[in-house]
Symmetry: C2
């Protein structure tokens, strides 16, 4: 593997040569159960892969650190709930690097046991949020059959596969259909496409692949008017565009914040590395999470 070691705000990173490409095949750790949307993200990132499922974000990260899996997939932001702070909290202290991002448009599908038709449906299960996102469909069946919220969409699909009710239906992902041997009766029942989750792929190797365009970091500033303003000044004066900025209060310490911050840039450019060094000097906490491209 051809690479050059560069120093990104105090962190040695391997900048891979232009011939290096992101792997197609890997053993990948995901959080949740088979058929979860994180499996769909894994599939988009690694066309050929083997998945292992873990109960928690911490479990995925531990598996990456120990080498039990090659990579881990974690949700980092959702357009309904904002940043997944559980993921950020784990990333802050874990010695892993974000090497890839994937923005996944969530397209809910109506799943039934093979051979069933619309008129055979006797109940519909899904996550509460997914039921809300498929309001038009849900209103069309409500009153006729029970509509039952369950913990998550993959659990709904597993229920349809394993329960004794032949007419049960679930609203879930195509991965869930495959995982539990179900049939897709309708493949677009969301009211809008305004529903996505961003996932990141983490590695224990501190690498930057060619074409990386997004830099993610967590930083904390002194609590005084203008502290953040000063930091953004470094980005602005170097022409680095801010693509994410989110304050997260540090509980227990009043009015202290972590900022989840993403800018567009590639650390191969020495000017970008200089900006990051300057920003780091203004921060009480500075954690470079990775420089990667997003699918």
């Amino acid at each position: 593997m051809s690479y050059e070691v560069i120093n990104v705000a105090g962190r040695p990173m391997r900048l891979l040569g232009s011939g290096e490409v992101f792997p197609r095949k890997a053993l990948v750790g995901c959080q949740g159960i088979k058929g979860a949307y994180s499996q769909q993200a894994a599939r988009k990132m690694f066309p050929e892969r083997t998945e292992m499922f873990f109960r928690s974000f911490a479990g995925v990260i531990e598996a990456v650190k120990s080498g039990l899996v090659d990579y881990g997939i974690l949700p980092i932001e959702n357009n309904s709930y904002g940043s997944v702070r559980g993921t950020y909290r784990q990333l802050l202290d874990a010695d892993v690097t974000i090497v890839r991002g994937e923005r996944l448009l969530i397209r809910h599908q109506l799943l039934v046991k093979p051979g069933n038709r619309f008129e055979d449906i006797t109940s519909v299960r899904s996550h509460e949020q997914a039921l809300g996102q498929c309001g038009t469909f849900v209103r069309s069946v409500e009153g006729k059959v029970p509509v039952i919220p369950v913990l998550n969409t993959a659990v709904a699909a597993r229920y349809v596969a394993e329960c004794g009710e032949p007419g049960a239906a679930a609203i879930a992902s195509p991965e869930a259909a495959e995982a539990y041997g179900l049939e897709i009766l309708e493949n677009r029942i969301s009211d809008s496409d305004n529903n996505y989750t961003r996932f990141v792929c983490i590695s224990r190797e501190p690498v930057i692949y060619p074409g990386a365009s997004r830099i993610s970091m967590i930083l904390s500033t002194a609590h005084r008017p203008g502290a953040l303003y000063e930091i953004l000044g470094f980005f602005a004066s170097a022409g680095l565009n801010l693509v994410k900025l989110e304050s997260c209060p540090i509980v227990g310490r009043d009015f202290e914040f972590m900022f989840y911050t993403d800018v567009e840039g590639n650390a191969a450019d020495p000017r970008v590395r200089e900006v990051l060094s300057n920003v780091k000097k203004c921060c009480s906490v500075f954690r470079f999470l990775g420089n990667y491209s997003e699918g």
Copy 2:
């Protein structure tokens, strides 16, 4: 009611006189079911109140706009999930004003049918997140009795009250205990106190109560490096401290953002109003949500 009308970035607001106090008594709309944590927020804001429950955030807002209820209570930020974007999206277009905030430390309690003791427990139900937050307790009972995740904590409490299983237990709020006639067997079973949700109280009257110290707004800037930097410059140069800043991508329009922005200040100060006017001029979207104090 004594007040002066002031212009806050183009929006006429009633600045209440120093003798005016926040009401103790009101008809209040909450989202969810009886025993939800939003009921606890309502109780802290209004010592004497009547609650009405609505299925959705939109339902609460509609009830406030139509005058069906005096005030509405909405969750706006959670320390696990970040901003509640559903609330922000509704507030962006609704002609209502935030008049009060409340930061609620969530203290989970173990609820049982009256008379039951610890050794009588045959199952434990709660929201998955609450089970995770009470890890020490959950690990102490796991293996002995089933631990079952359900949709939310109030649903778990309702189950304990209404099911046929005498030894069922729930992890939920004291309001849920009261709503469903349950007994609190242990009143602090969370692993840490790092668990809070911020709620806001909305009114259809555009008022600012005396002592207001927080200004909330939603803004959107041009997509160019430094646009946000310029805006923060107005706040910084006036010494207004930023207490929240969160970017939220506008889905469907690549790389355009809404910023959920809170600063410390009182719009009675003409200098503060001047800053807000200047900020508004730099924004493609500027929505002043309210100026209020937080309990």
